[in-house]
C-alpha cells in the first residue's frame, strides 16, 4: 500500500497527527450532522428550530449542541437499582467507539486517510456493526421492560439488515476488484459505462446503493426503521433509563454513525473525493481556467487533499440530509414488516444484484 499524506517518516509523529485529525473529525462531524438535523427537520416542519444559542454574533442555534452537551454533563447520572451496573455504564462507550474506529480507515481526500487497509470495506462494515452490541448491552442491563423490547428489536434488526448492507457493498467490491476503500475510490475514477461514459458506481449499482442506504438507515435506527427506539411505543428502547452524559453518548453515537455510514456509502458509491466522475477538484479548476485562457495551476498535494475532503464532506452531508429528510416525512414501519421486507425483498434483490454484476464484469 502506498503511503498517504499523513504518513511521516517518524511513526510516532504520524500516529499523533492521525489521531488528532481523527478525533477532531469525530468531534465536529457528528455535531454538524446534529445541527443539520435540528435545522433541516425544523424547516421541513415549518418552524425555525434553535435560534438562540450561538457563538458570538453568529446565532441561528449553531451552538445548540454544545449547550446541550454542557447541560447533559450537569445532569444527575442515574443508574437503576436493578441494573447491571458495569454493563450499564460500559454500553454507551461500546456504542460510540466503533464509529471512531471506522473513521480511521475512511479516505476523506486524496492521500488523506488514517490507514489504507487492504481489507478496508470488511473492516469498516464489521466494526460499525459492533455499535449494535452497545445497544444490546444497554437494553439488557437497564432492567427495564421497554429497554428489553428495544434490545430484542435491535437484535432482530441487526440480523436482518447486516446482510443487505454487506450484499450491497459486496457488489461494489466485486466490481472494483479490491477491498481497499482508497482503491475503490480510484477504481470509480477509471470506471466507464460501456467503456465510454465515466460514472460513479451509484448508477450501475443503483440497486446496491439503495440496499446499502436502506440497510444503513435500519442499522442506525433511523426513521422509517427506528423501531428499536420508537419513542411512542417503547420510549426510546435501550435509552429509556439513561440520563446525562451517558445518554448524550448514545445521541453522539447516532450522529457519528450517520456520518460514518454516509462516508462509507460515499466512498463505495459516490466516488469519494471526485467532484465529477473521474474529475478531481484541481482538474476541474484547471479546466475552468483553461476555458478563460489562463494556464494550468499546480496544486500542492495538501491543498488538493483538502479540496477533496471538502467534496467528500459535501457528499456525506448530502446523504445525512436525505436521512433527516426521511425522518421528517416517513412514519415508522412495524418490526415484522421490516423483517419481511428485508428477507423477502432486499436480500434476494441483493443476491440478484451480485449475480448481475458478476456476469457484467465477466462479459466486460
Amino acid at each position: 500500500m502506498e503511503p498517504g499524506l499523513l504518513d511521516f517518516p517518524s511513526l510516532g509523529l504520524s500516529i499523533a497527527v492521525k489521531l488528532l485529525i481523527m478525533v477532531g473529525f469525530f468531534l465536529t462531524a457528528p455535531l454538524v450532522a446534529g445541527y443539520m438535523e435540528h435545522k433541516v427537520l425544523a424547516h421541513q416542519q415549518d418552524r425555525l428550530g434553535p435560534m438562540e444559542a450561538g457563538i458570538g454574533p453568529i446565532k441561528h442555534g449553531v451552538g445548540q449542541l454544545v449547550a446541550d452537551g454542557a447541560k447533559f454533563i450537569q445532569k444527575e447520572d442515574i443508574v437503576p437499582t436493578a441494573a447491571d451496573k458495569w454493563v450499564f455504564s460500559l454500553a454507551p462507550g461500546v456504542a460510540l467507539v466503533p464509529a471512531l474506529v471506522v473513521m480511521l480507515v475512511l479516505p476523506l481526500g486524496p492521500g488523506l486517510f488514517g490507514e489504507n487497509l487492504g481489507a478496508g470495506v470488511f473492516f469498516a462494515l464489521a466494526v460499525s456493526s459492533v455499535s449494535v452490541l452497545g445497544v444490546l448491552m444497554a437494553a439488557w442491563s437497564s432492567a427495564n421492560k421497554y429497554s428489553l423490547m428495544g434490545g430484542i428489536r435491535a437484535a432482530a434488526q441487526l440480523i436482518a439488515y447486516e446482510l443487505p448492507l454487506v450484499l450491497g457493498a459486496a457488489a461494489v467490491v466485486l466490481q472494483a476488484g479490491t477491498l481497499s476503500l482508497v482503491s475503490i475510490v480510484e477504481a470509480q475514477a477509471d470506471f466507464r459505462i460501456f467503456g465510454l461514459l465515466p460514472m460513479w458506481f451509484v448508477l450501475p449499482h443503483a440497486i446496491g446503493f439503495l440496499l446499502f442506504f436502506v440497510a444503513s438507515l435500519a442499522e442506525l435506527n433511523r426513521p422509517p426503521f427506528d423501531m428499536p427506539i420508537a419513542d411512542s411505543e417503547i420510549i426510546f428502547g435501550h435509552m429509556t433509563e439513561y440520563t446525562g452524559i451517558k445518554y448524550a453518548f448514545f445521541m453522539l453515537a447516532e450522529y457519528a454513525g450517520m456520518v460514518v455510514l454516509s462516508a462509507i456509502a460515499t466512498v463505495l458509491f459516490l466516488g469519494g473525493w471526485y467532484v465529477l466522475p473521474g474529475v478531481t477538484v484541481p482538474e476541474l479548476i484547471n479546466w475552468v481556467v483553461a476555458f478563460f485562457g489562463a494556464g494550468p495551476f499546480e496544486f500542492h498535494p495538501v491543498v488538493a487533499g483538502l479540496l477533496g475532503v471538502g467534496v467528500t464532506m459535501g457528499k456525506i452531508f448530502t446523504l445525512v440530509f436525505v436521512m433527516v429528510w426521511f425522518r421528517a416525512t416517513f412514519p415508522r414501519l412495524r418490526e415484522d414488516q421490516l423483517q419481511r421486507m428485508s428477507w423477502l425483498i432486499l436480500i434476494p434483490l441483493g443476491l440478484l444484484n451480485i449475480v448481475v454484476i458478476a456476469i457484467a464484469k465477466v462479459l466486460a
Binding site: 416542519q45 436493578a82 421528517a328
Partner: protein, 394 residues
C-alpha cells in the same frame, strides 16, 4: 400460564439481569415463552394523558389488555352539583379540553330546554360556526398526534400551524384559546367582532390547503397504509354494542350523527355531510378525521352566508334556575355522542348532571381491539380510537 412458572423477584425481569428468559417446551414440541406483563401508562407518550393499559405480552403480541382509567378523575359530575349554571359552563369545557365549545353547548342546550327558552337565531348560527371550528380544532389535534405515534413527526407541526390560526380566530371572538367559555344560557356571551366572518371565510381556504398537505404527507404514504390498513378492525356490530360513536363509529360504515338524526341549533337547515368508512380499521378512522374536517369547512361555508343580524343572547334573570325536572340533550361532539342528563330540583344548581362522554365509550372496547394485536399495532389503535383522557375520567 404464568402461574406454572416460578415466583420471581419483583425487581428481576425475564431476560433481564439476574434471570434468563424462561422458555418452556411442552409435549408435542410447542415452545411456550414466558408472558411479560407490561404497563403502558399512566405515563406513556402514546396514551395522550394518563390512561393506563396493562397488557400481557407474548413476544410482541398482546394476549390480554386491560385499560385502567381514573387517573384523571376530577369529580366533574359531583362538582357540577355545587356550581351554578354559568359556572358549569366554565367547568364542562374542561373535561374534554379539545372540544371545549361543543361541551359548553350541550350544557347550555340542556338548561335552555329545561327553561323552555327561545334562543335567538343569530346565537344559534354563531353556535354552529363555533362548533364546527371546535370540531376542526379537535380533529387536527388527532391528525397530528396519530402521525406522531406512528413515527411521522411532521404532521403534528403542520396540524398545530392550522390549529394556531383557528385558535387565534376563536380568540378574537371568545377571548380564549382552549377554554372558550363563550356559550351562555340563551345564547352566546357577546357578539362576534367585526371581521370575524370574513376571517372565517379566509381561514376555510387555509384549512383546506392544510388537509391536502396531510393527505399528501400521510394518507397516500405506503408505510402509513401498511401500518394502519387492516389494523384494529372494529366490526359495526361490536361498535354498536359498546356504544362507540363519532368518527370511530363512522369508520365502521354507520353514519349515525346527531347533527343529522336529531338536529340541534341550526344543523337542520344545513346540508351536513357525514363521511363514513367501510372497513372500520385504523386507516378508515384516520380518513374520517380528514373527511370530517372537510365536511366542517363546508358547513361553516354554508353558515357564513346565512347568519342573520339580530341579538345574540337573551336577557337572563340574576339567578338562573332550571325548573324542576329532567332533560337529556345529545350533541355530536367531535369525538362522538355527547350527552348531558340534567336533573334539577328547581334550585340554581343542578341536582345531578350526568355526562355521557364519547371517549369513555370509545375506550371501553379497547380490550376487544387490542387482543391479539402487536405492540406496535396497539399504538396505531390507541391513536386512532379517538379519546381524551379527561373525557374518559371526567
Amino acid at each position: 400460564m404464568t402461574e406454572t412458572l416460578p415466583e420471581r423477584d419483583a425487581g428481576v425481569l425475564p431476560g433481564g439481569p439476574g434471570e434468563g428468559l424462561l422458555v418452556e417446551v411442552r409435549d408435542g414440541g410447542d415452545i411456550v415463552t414466558q408472558e411479560m406483563n407490561l404497563n403502558i401508562g399512566p405515563q406513556h407518550p402514546a396514551t395522550h394523558g394518563v390512561l393506563r393499559v396493562v397488557i400481557d405480552l407474548d413476544g410482541e403480541r398482546i394476549s390480554r389488555a386491560t385499560p385502567v382509567i381514573g387517573y384523571m378523575h376530577r369529580g366533574f359530575e359531583k362538582l357540577a352539583e355545587a356550581r351554578d349554571y354559568r359556572q358549569i359552563i366554565a367547568l364542562v369545557n374542561r373535561h374534554d379540553w379539545l372540544s371545549a365549545f361543543n361541551n359548553e353547548l350541550g350544557v347550555a342546550m340542556a338548561v335552555e330546554t329545561m327553561m323552555e327558552m327561545e334562543v335567538p337565531d343569530r346565537a344559534q348560527w354563531i353556535r354552529v360556526i363555533m362548533c364546527e371550528w371546535g370540531r376542526i380544532l379537535n380533529h387536527l389535534m388527532f391528525v397530528g398526534s396519530f402521525g406522531l405515534e406512528l413515527g411521522a413527526i411532521t404532521p403534528l407541526f403542520f396540524a398545530f400551524r392550522e390549529r394556531e390560526d383557528i385558535q387565534h380566530l376563536m380568540e378574537t371572538a371568545t377571548g380564549g384559546r382552549l377554554h372558550f367559555t363563550y356559550n351562555r344560557i340563551g345564547g352566546v356571551k357577546e357578539d362576534l367582532p367585526a371581521g370575524f366572518l370574513q376571517a372565517s371565510a379566509k381561514l376555510i381556504k387555509v384549512i383546506r390547503r392544510g388537509t391536502q398537505q396531510y393527505r399528501d404527507l400521510l394518507f397516500g404514504n405506503e408505510i402509513f397504509m401498511a401500518r394502519t390498513k387492516g389494523v384494529g378492525v372494529l366490526p359495526p356490530q361490536i361498535a354498536l354494542e359498546y356504544g362507540v360513536s363519532g368518527p370511530t363509529l363512522h369508520a365502521t360504515g354507520i353514519g349515525e350523527d346527531s347533527r343529522v338524526t336529531q338536529p340541534y341549533a341550526k344543523y337542520g337547515e344545513l346540508d351536513v355531510p357525514v363521511p363514513v368508512g367501510g372497513n372500520g380499521d385504523s386507516f378508515d378512522r384516520f380518513a374520517m378525521l380528514l373527511d370530517r374536517i372537510d365536511a366542517s369547512t363546508y358547513i361553516i361555508d354554508q353558515a357564513l352566508d346565512r347568519i342573520p343580524p339580530g341579538p345574540c343572547n337573551v336577557k337572563l334573570p340574576k339567578i338562573v334556575k332550571a325548573p324542576e325536572g329532567a332533560v337529556y340533550t345529545r350533541t355530536e361532539a367531535p369525538l362522538g355522542q355527547l350527552g348531558y342528563y340534567l336533573v334539577s330540583d328547581g334550585k340554581k344548581n343542578p341536582w345531578r348532571l350526568k355526562m355521557r362522554t364519547p371517549s369513555f365509550y370509545n375506550i371501553s372496547m379497547m380490550p376487544y381491539l387490542l387482543e391479539g394485536a402487536l405492540l406496535s399495532d396497539m399504538i396505531a389503535i390507541l391513536g386512532s380510537v379517538f379519546f381524551v383522557v379527561g373525557d374518559v375520567d371526567r
